[in-house]
């Protein structure tokens, strides 16, 4: 995150135009983008050619339908992931947790909740760092509810989930997820702020003396930001690709073999209990977005209702058991319970709303 001045090369050449290395780097990124675009456009014809000519599957058969789905969706989603994770990685180099904290410090509730929800999307976050981040926010005087808005938004609304939703469901569902996820983060944080839950934060958190400002902000060159984007691709895509492949493979199986309308009775709009059931099943499930979304897409196709499906995804991605265990270090059980309860209610409302409207 920090590249101290002593290490970064003193670069007089950069002042007077591009250095050779910078030009080479720009060229490499441009070539990579051209290659990406070419690949993206050849996936559809290539997957059809592979399915129907090379493998000789007859169009319309179940196997062909499943194989074509798999061969098209896997490369498409992986390509989208690479591009978006890279861009988000570059954007995130501007939003370090320290800067986010500085932006949030001194905000009042409501406006603070909205800002925290939005910053949750762009600030790099790993639930492994949830505890130091929580303490850092609280020590900076950021209200508890605003901190919680951030902690709900950061894992729930993430670029991997949005890419998969965009790739498999289209931009409308991705936008719905983004909008409703943000709304839940903002509203839940606000509600919990009103509930005066500060006394359920472990007391030692308030007694800490926190060293301030030692994560110094330093000048980061654009080249370093691009390097962060590449690093994000290596780390995130490297970690989630097996889940993407496995999820799409299961999805392809359902796509090809499960009869249409199979789930209409269980997960359809008419089954009122399906939304709470989806949340109840989803909360203890811990899967990343990459694995769950392709399966859910296939379920939607077989008659599940969109609201139920959205509720399920949010419960799986947004409320994860490991994160709650980590947060238990700083939050006492009543606050954890309130956290799960309020967010679950938010998800339920979203689920019912979409089942009623769409």
């Amino acid at each position: 995150m920090t590249a101290p001045a002593a290490v970064s090369p003193p670069a007089p050449a950069q002042k007077s135009g591009w250095s050779g290395a910078q030009a080479a780097s720009a060229l490499c990124h441009a070539l990579a983008l051209a290659l990406w675009t070419t690949l993206y456009w050849v996936i559809a014809p290539a997957s059809e050619w592979l399915t129907y000519h090379l493998l000789g599957l007859s169009p319309g058969s179940r196997l062909a339908s499943a194989v074509a789905f798999l061969l098209f969706e896997v490369p498409k989603v992986l390509l989208l992931l690479v591009l978006v994770v890279f861009l988000v990685g570059v954007i995130r180099s501007w939003f370090t947790p320290a800067r986010t904290r500085a932006l949030l410090a001194g905000r009042r509730e409501s406006a603070g909740n909205v800002l925290a929800g939005l910053l949750g999307i762009v600030t790099p976050f790993c639930s492994c760092s949830a505890v130091p981040l929580f303490i850092g926010f609280v020590e900076a005087g950021i209200p508890l509810g605003v901190t919680l808005s951030f902690l709900i938004s950061a894992p729930m609304v993430n670029e991997v989930a949005l890419v998969l939703l965009f790739g498999l469901f289209g931009w409308k569902v991705a936008a719905l997820y983004l909008g409703t996820g943000l709304a839940i983060a903002i509203a839940s944080g606000f509600v919990m702020g009103r509930m005066k839950l500060g006394r359920f934060v472990e007391p030692w958190v308030y007694e800490l003396t926190v060293g301030a400002g030692s994560e110094a902000e330093e000048r980061v060159s654009f080249e370093e930001r691009l390097a962060k984007g590449r690093q994000a691709v290596r780390e995130i895509v490297g970690r989630v690709w097996p889940y993407v492949v496995a999820g799409i493979a299961v999805g392809a199986g359902i796509h090809g073999y499960a009869p249409a309308g199979l789930l209409a009775g269980v997960m359809g709009r008419s089954a009122w209990w399906s939304v709470p059931a989806a949340v109840l099943i989803g909360v203890p499930m811990y899967s990343n977005a990459a694995g769950i979304i392709p399966v859910v897409q296939a379920l939607l196709e077989k008659g599940a209702a969109l609201g139920t499906v959205l509720a399920f995804m949010m419960a799986v991605i947004g409320l994860s058991f490991p994160e709650l265990v980590i947060l238990r270090k700083v939050l006492r059980p009543p606050l954890i319970a309130a956290f799960v309860g309020v967010v679950s209610v938010g998800i339920l409302i979203v689920g019912y709303l979409f089942n009623a409207v769409l």
């Binding site: 995150m1 920090t2 290490v7 904290r101 790099p124 760092s129 800490l208 060293g211 030692s214 994560e215």
Partner: protein, 61 residues
């Protein structure tokens, strides 16, 4: 951790490396993202694992 030890050995300074795991201790450094690296009590990097070469550069500076 291993990288820091390798870097400390490479500089030949006999520096000792300590892994801080207690959240309270970590917070005293004002760090919000782990892993972080502090040299002589001053945080030099947070949120990523540094290569031995990078740490060596920090130690020598």
């Amino acid at each position: 951790m291993a990288n820091a030890e390798a870097a400390a050995a490479a500089t030949g300074s006999g520096a000792s490396v300590e892994k801080v795991e207690d959240v309270r201790e970590i917070m005293k450094f004002g760090v919000m993202t782990t892993p972080a690296l502090a040299i002589d009590g001053k945080v030099r990097a947070a949120g990523r694992v540094l290569s031995p070469t990078e740490i060596e550069g920090l130690l020598r500076s």
